[in-house]
Subunit: 493 residues, 4 copies
């Protein structure tokens, strides 16, 4: 009875629901005593990449492989001495994930990574950021040959492919497995003696290498190096596999055919933390630069530039710097908003929006407001914010969006709605402006975005420097499972 | 064994530990179905006033008084249908509190308000924001006469004084009781038929009245009216008692001798939310104005103005506006930092600082930085931030503090360290600058602060418009329990 | 919603529901290191006297009074090192209680004893077995004079009466308080230096004194002395108060007017454990003797004597010994039946009976069975057992009951149904036999029961040796609260 | 820290530790709405076969396969509506298990059955009672071929063997798999449409078929049919596989070579519940008959026959019937003893024995006592009981044991100590008597035991009618994994 009512409830977070969501963060450490503690800190710093659940596997010669997987924040689980004591050893990897609503039931803890497999030459654990676009075909094939899957995760294919490889070592088996896999993947894995990192040939998802004392670190982002005081060494290169051990240090391999890289441009716009460095560029500075580009491309006379907190803040600062229009906090975010505010009654549910944001009425009233947001997905949130701003007495509302229109779903490890739910898939910029009911609406151009990330010539249309499929519909890897299910790519349309 | 290790641990939040902490928020609703749901939302909006625990009491003619008290955030407890169903009725009050470290043990749930008492004419529940400065003397007297205390809270005195009053009605008994009480109090209480609000004669703590449909609301701050869509009516006046019922509306009484009000000026500086309105003034705007005053009083040549997030942000924006120096996010706050990050090992404990904040290195490196913070308490945090900023390669670090030096403890409902722990109690501004190791350190002047809150003439030293005891040492109500324990007021020094 | 369904559910234990229930057990220790651990063991041995909740208060000069109260079994709560470490000291008392269905909600933990009060001369904790028959009148009076009750327990009156006494010491205040109290009480209490035991003038509930090493013990029953290896010293006498300290040993006082004692005869029949000694008599042996008396009073030709497990077992053994009819286990009890089997569906709920008991078909089939049970309350269980036995193919079913017909409710600390729910209140023995549908039904006579407890002359009707109000309707203390509510005693009928 | 102290603690249950333990019970239902509810009841009745954990898998066409696995008693988990609602459908199977101390950690929930596998033709779940004696060899082989094990359970082999079979249907694959398996197994399994039961060719473990309404039931014992009101149909025959569906009813197959059956004789002595019927014989009656045989084989003059509760009770009754010596409850068992009494201090730990049993001193003192127990394993418990009895003043203590000396470990699904820990492996009866310190000690003879189970000629030594390896050392299936590890069978000695 009670469960039913949960299911029929509207999403708990009206706002979060209208964002694209990175699905994972990965982190690994070798060569440091109590490695799992460092992994916990690293995952805490990567929590924005996945808030639903986390897992850590550690290895110690005495206790063997140990694992713990939990729903909820890292800080609420992997900080208890009683739990951390069960994860001894100087080698550990971890994973945070976002899981789609509803699967967080009884058995879904099985879907929480890292995954572990016992092979004849010993065990291995693996954590995966990205998405395997041919996972369903692989799974069917593996089941036909006698593999038994324990989760509904696409990532589990990798461990079964490794189990069936005829190679003699785990790294070689991993190469075998990953060569069969299509899509985007940044993998952190471990055997009893080695920490392993791999990025797919296009390098869609980030993965960086750090050093701390005698130990080595792999992380999705540099901000997680900072939290443990590790030094940034370099990015793992697209298509590279690194094997790391205290004895031999970092050994580099290139098991895949070389291709031009296509890093996800949306990591710059929204997914990564502003204090991370991606491809040698400060994410904060890139976002401020997007604001500057936006102010140049789409200027407007107004009294105040306000961010939609918190993700719109750096671009709003940039917009203010470039335009000279004062910057102010027109919308205040409730710091105590968590993932799980369940509205108890119909009456209150309709107030949902105010649980997270409140308008700073005194600042807004009577002014012409420029609102800077990172993206428009379904448009539901933007409409509500416009309403709140006008209720508070704003004279005009101008939206400036720090990314081009999101018109295509992502199949490389980001949770996006189906194509027809994306506002930009069926509306022009003017139609969206009217739908949102604002005085003006402007998105940064794709070229403007490329300039903001440092490509002074803008986008190279013959050979784009980034994966921008969510804006352009040009998928660098054909999403074969989805195509089989009837998805029409741009070319097919 | 394990408990011991908790006790010997350094505070979990190195930063929070160096703030003054408001100890409570109160909220009450009458005349709305499912009043407890509204109270839960109101308390969620007041969570910044007390994060350790919360409680709600509701009244329904069928079930009588019902109560629930919980440790942890409102959103994690008072949002579950199974709990909220136990709190029926159209009349409810609630309380959030901060409890001092260590008392959050087995029995301390008893200390969580609202308190409830059964009198011969029926029951009453009471929630209290503030501090009773003669509570210990009252408690001794009450125990001698046979009262049995259930908590260690000073607020419980009120309910025992009410129980012993000879008055025939609960409001009259409350007047009797509060006339015996010294100190600061904003009280929200309820009988079976009435919602009651009272402020002490000086009006040290805030309390506002709102209206929503046919219902009435009492709240510590206006931001909690916004979350439920209630309209702000007016502040409860210093020394006023309001009795609210659906039938008679708001009845106003003045049970105390009239005195000039002394509202807490630190509510403007730090405690209240920036989107609240205090005394007709936007808190955000006041803080921005403090930044402007600071820029005038203590200008410095620099490249970037950065807030210490999040409380320093509006003043930093004001400083930037006035000085023309660009505003930027030099320090990034981890959004997933909760109250309960327990560092598992010595090794990691020393990294404590980075759990909450990270420096945006790319922005800071090589620049002269102005850091705007709301206050300096012990100075421990300020030292760590300076260290982080210099590690990241800043050329110069200039601190600008949005309040005068905090040299005296507060006894009116704020958690402050003992006087000798307050840096400003034994150091001059120059000594503090050297201690913190920064290139310059400037506090706003007391007059500057008064100007920022709208007193164009500054502070009226003969008859100060606000309670500023934490800065001036001038206590508007003698803290008699503390004096008995040997505390020396400024006059006594 | 879900709560509702609990409320409308039939009782979880169809069998237990048809028993009278002792409401409490008390235990205290002084002069032994880690006294709370001994109290936990003692309460475990007294668990049959109260299964819903338990509490322990300890005192240590460093930590002061510490308390823990929990729902559930002693073994599930008071055995965890993490909890027991919070209860240091060489002086501790504890309590187990049965709470009526439905009150086990959010706030009812308040009703779990021991109760604690802070007086001007120090604190005291008190645990009470029994029932105060003028509690409601006392409560009204106390509230009128300003006492604030925290629980709905009648026992809380004692602590408020003590708080209001003008005596200078806690034991003197306790005498003052208990002289105002009517009803049955065996009290174990503690100050900072003394363990205190008191029994009401009639000595209705048991209380024994034991010794272990240099320490002293008070306990409801001797079986709880055995578990900690303590030696039985003597019973606390009816109307006696003992003050125990390591220095002075046991000091004895008689604060009440002396009266002839009236110990509860049902303690012999059912409440106490068979391995306890009551009034110098083995409970097991008394019950076996009841079986012998029954076999003499109500013989019947049959093939097998079966107990209704487990409480009917000793009487069944006695019946077999006397009659020569073989003893057998015709009904098997499921050892894993707990308190909380909640039947999930209508369909299954109707099978409720089989959750706890199963018939040993092979033994029963074709035989004439004598079933020996301890009592008949509502008769619901007896009907079901008869049905199970006949379904299994028994040729005849003869009930023999080890107590006289239970026709009157108990007001001295036993949970009994209202009078009209007691089968014997409105049916003769023959009517009950027909209602239960058995071939014969015989209760032991009141005189037979008195003989079994050693009164060779049977009951002294002018001055009965025991309290047997549940059988005779002769209440040794007038139940004044109940009379005020309209209860008609036998005399009044 | 705390965990360490758990590990170094002596076993929580001094008594239980000295019993052989059945490792599993299985139960399945098809053709009844809310089948999982019936399975929960069945598992509750089978709880004595495994107390550590339980699991249920159900299938419903809408929700597919659903599963829940929990540590703890059935009544504490599988009775909550919120959990049972997640297990819809008219087809379900379940399992209770005993798990060895220490493995009940974070990940061991993986070891809780039923196991589930997704095959290309659909899923299947399987629950297993018994032990696979070549499981380690099979596991090695399967891992070498790419299977990934998720548990440390021997039973998981079956599901991997099924996954790798080339057969087209799940039942055929199960036959394939079970033909590779050596040892003892009673399996209950399910596909989307069928309930499946299989017993190994020797029929070592029990499995019975029942009928209720239109539905069918499989269960380890008949007592679990009784609890849901199902009718006993017949035993599944040794070596038989039954496929059950509502449409076709019960289809019978014999996939294995036929052999003479060897049912476990210890099921009669101890494992099964006294109210179950095994091989057409009442377990209670068999045990009573053992007592009669014992009284004939090893008579002794004495005053009282006492069982060691509860398992010795029927044999004690039989001994009393045959010898004419009165039966009495000399030892009283604490009904509230659970699995998890953790003794908090050294001091108290030494009292461990009294937590579970107490001597009925008044009955024992001065008497010559015959104690009837089911078995002697390590002898530790027997020594403690002798001590308690003598402390209580018994004049003589005579042990009579309802099974022959347990001299060999079981490898067919029973938890036994290593051979050298078994008292009877290295002591004669006389040596054991002296070691236990009793006046006499007699075990029933192997022939006497066979007579008690109805073999009037006693044991057929050339072709024993039962598996009695624990007494005789004659293993009907060579324990190949153990032999590989160096175990010496009797023949090899």
């Amino acid at each position: 009875m009670r469960q039913q009512s949960f299911r029929t409830m509207p999403p708990a977070h009206p706002f979060d629901d209208d964002k694209l969501k990175e699905e994972c963060g990965v982190f690994g450490v070798i060569g440091l005593a109590d490695a799992a503690n460092f992994v916990a800190l690293g995952l805490h710093a990567l929590q924005h990449r996945g808030q639903e659940a986390g897992g850590i596997v550690s290895y110690d010669p005495v206790t063997g492989f140990q694992s713990a997987r939990r729903f909820g924040y890292v800080r609420d689980n992997f900080t208890k001495a009683s739990l951390m004591e069960t994860l001894p050893g100087s080698l550990a990897i971890g994973h945070v994930r976002y899981s789609t609503a509803g699967s967080k039931g009884q058995t879904a803890i099985r879907d929480v990574q890292p995954f572990f497999g016992e092979f004849s030459m010993g065990g291995a654990a693996i954590a995966h950021n990205g998405n395997i676009t041919n996972a369903e075909a692989l799974r069917r094939e593996l089941i036909e040959h006698g593999s038994i899957f324990q989760s509904s995760s696409d990532s589990e294919c990798i461990i079964h492919l490794m189990a069936r490889s005829f190679q003699k070592t785990i790294p070689e088996r991993m190469k075998d497995a990953l060569r069969r896999v299509e899509g985007a993947f940044s993998v952190v894995a471990m055997t009893r003696t080695k920490l392993i990192g791999v990025r797919d040939p296009l390098g869609v998802r980030p993965l960086v290498l750090g050093r701390i004392g005698d130990g080595w670190v792999l992380s999705s982002e540099t901000c997680a190096l900072d939290i443990i005081g590790a030094e940034f060494v370099r990015e793992v290169a697209p298509g590279e596999m690194v094997l790391i051990s205290p004895e031999k240090g970092v050994e580099s391999f290139h098991p895949f055919e070389r291709r031009a890289s296509r890093f996800c441009i949306f990591e710059h716009v929204y997914f990564s933390r502003p204090d991370s460095i991606l491809g040698g560029r400060s994410v904060y500075e890139t976002r401020r630069q997007i604001g500057i580009e936006l102010a140049r491309e789409a200027p407007v006379e107004a009294d105040l530039v306000c961010p939609v907190p918190d993700s719109g803040t750096p671009a709003a600062i940039g917009f203010s710097h470039e335009s000279g229009i004062p910057y102010g906090m027109g919308i205040i975010r409730n710091q105590y908003m968590g993932r799980t505010f369940i509205e108890p009654t119909e009456q209150i549910r309709n107030m949902g929006v105010r649980l997270k944001l409140n308008v700073n009425r005194a600042l807004i009233a009577g002014k012409r407001i420029i609102l800077v947001d990172d993206s428009v997905v379904r448009g539901t949130t933007s409409r509500k914010i416009r309403e709140m701003i006008l209720d508070a007495g704003a004279a005009e509302v101008h939206f400036r969006i720090a990314s081009p229109p999101t018109a295509w779903p992502c199949f490389y490890g980001v949770d996006t709605p189906q194509r027809d739910k994306l506002l930009a898939s069926h509306m022009s910029e003017d139609e969206m402006r009217d739908y949102l009911g604002v005085d003006s609406l402007k998105f940064i151009s794709l070229d403007g975005l490329y300039r903001a990330v440092g490509e002074v010539e803008g986008r190279n249309n013959r050979c784009p420097q980034y994966c921008d499929a969510c804006f352009s519909g040009e998928y660098p890897v054909a999403p074969s499972d989805m195509i089989q299910k009837g998805f029409q790519t741009k070319a097919a349309e």
